[in-house]
Symmetry: C2
Amino acid sequence: MIIGVPGETAEGETRVALTPPVAGELVEDGHDVCVAEGAGEGADWKDDEYREAGCEVLEGRLDVFDRSDVVLHVRGLGADEEASTDRYSEGQVVVGLLGPYGLDGELKELADRNVSAFALELIPRISRAQSMDAVSSMDSVSGYRAITMAANSLPKMFPMEMTAAGTVQPAEVFVLGAGVAGLKAIATSERLGASTVANDVRPEVREEVESLGAEFVSVGDETEEMSDEEGYATEQEKSFEQKQKEMLMEVVPEADVVITTAAIPGRPAPQPITDEMIERMDPGSVVIDLAAESGGNCEPSRAGETVEHGGVEVRGPTNLPATIPQTASYLYSNNIKNMLDLLISDGEMDIDTGDEILDSTLLTHDGEVRAPHREDQGEDE
Amino acid sequence: MIIGVPGETAEGETRVALTPPVAGELVEDGHDVCVAEGAGEGADWKDDEYREAGCEVLEGRLDVFDRSDVVLHVRGLGADEEASTDRYSEGQVVVGLLGPYGLDGELKELADRNVSAFALELIPRISRAQSMDAVSSMDSVSGYRAITMAANSLPKMFPMEMTAAGTVQPAEVFVLGAGVAGLKAIATSERLGASTVANDVRPEVREEVESLGAEFVSVGDETEEMSDEEGYATEQEKSFEQKQKEMLMEVVPEADVVITTAAIPGRPAPQPITDEMIERMDPGSVVIDLAAESGGNCEPSRAGETVEHGGVEVRGPTNLPATIPQTASYLYSNNIKNMLDLLISDGEMDIDTGDEILDSTLLTHDGEVRAPHREDQGEDE
């Protein structure tokens, strides 16, 4: 089987879908791996390192598309034009964070070309799938980076310090949303010695938050129905939202750092943090809105920008994993390798749509649009 | 007594010599405090906060010089022109990090005006002086910031992570020099979960390094004579330097992050880290040279710049405390307050040159140039 890595085209994307060590494992498994020149550059991997791992380095990225049975991406469909499907050919398999919620006509085109496209965003949250769960591994990197970014911007130190020149109080960090990114932000904030408070609409994460040393604040009105069967937060009722805003109006102004991570896959992010809450924070405080790409959890945040709002720095980074490309590519490559191990048996592609993981992630197959994420969302699509 | 804060003029200086809370304490002690408009802005303190603390806010900073018995600076002599003494008048007291090693003719001018100038750089390392030791408090802030800066630049995560997508190895951090800045860098690196190694020419700091969880590497040839009576490192012999370079040629290329902190007060920094050592580091690695201002511990570093050398980012920050102005100003204000408590008795200035702390820091007094730091350096000045 020929496995190809054409490299990424999105602006600022530094990750690579296969690092040389993982590519080398695939070569050892008997596959041919071809990589476009410079594909690993953003993550500091050189073409020679791919060659040493037994890969072929091709000059043009289109040659990688032409040659490969399986095309691996980090992000998007990976062609020159946004979400273009022109590069794919009959029977190809494509695996990556393909952005399924943003795809529409492209799915029909992929199906017409008989492409089997797997979107890693749709990996089910079951234990067998954890090793392929690229959303979780990337969220973990984002949560870490959100804290190092905040620590590097805040005009205060994070840890409490008892010094001869007086006691420095720890920074106060508030984390909204205790999913993978939120939990990693909490853990990193605690590591650095800040005083950390977190909230999530799912009361069952309280214990996990507290086990990291942070305080859990609740609206007092949460129910188990606030997470879906996969543990993702669901959209909430109006009355709850009101109570949540009251709680946030207490907590946010006290914080030196606010990290928000409340995104709902394929939906606009809830926006419980208002302009006014942020205006009440101390000048010099820092807000990092990890949901900025889907509209933001905070009124003033703008995707990909840093805005100043009432003396507070509000950042809306859209691709934090790309700012830690070595670790992110390492984890992502392992996710990809584990996914390929499930897809390939005895050296041959063997797509078993009865497998829950494959069934959940397979956007197009056998000439048909499957789009399993649309079923999830029911009739309002 | 009228105590004045004219604010800082150095480029990029965000710290303020007195925060409103500490200014308020001086007002409660019965002093008048006057502050130039906007003096606290860089550290997010507003003029109104000074007014609420009982200070007078003056429109022009020259009015602060004209009015005050004691003039407080963070850095330098604080006038518009570099190290200008024109603003000072008969009998004034000035306290700050005045940069004594760079002063020459200015000392004569200050003495002629009968100014008593205290340079906090010269605070002796005795326990009674710790609460006034602004060099230590600022070095501590620098050591912390060096790590958050490195963590925010490095393409790897700092902590070891055991994840479903594989084990992420911890970043390798090497710290050269285990003074206050080095020890804080080591502590912060360990907090963030990196694997930390440190070296210092003074073998007696091994225990302190190890108590922070880091590994101490030595040249194997150190003696107690390598620190002076105040615990500062002294200049070393050639043969030792050779052995040190051999050790560094082993350790530096293994590191993802190198933090260098080996400065000798008033002297050019030793430069044991060569171009070649840095070229052997992995691409994407980060070097932060805290000694850049006095020439740098690393051949490629340039004061105030970030240079790329062999794929490694080499930063030479010159004023890291100013990047954490709130904490740095809090600590510095407390240092200043403790120094004033020693200088003032019963509301009157009472300079006892028999006091070791005052004797060590007093550059000019009673019409004479004292320059105690010159005596320290003996006949080679």
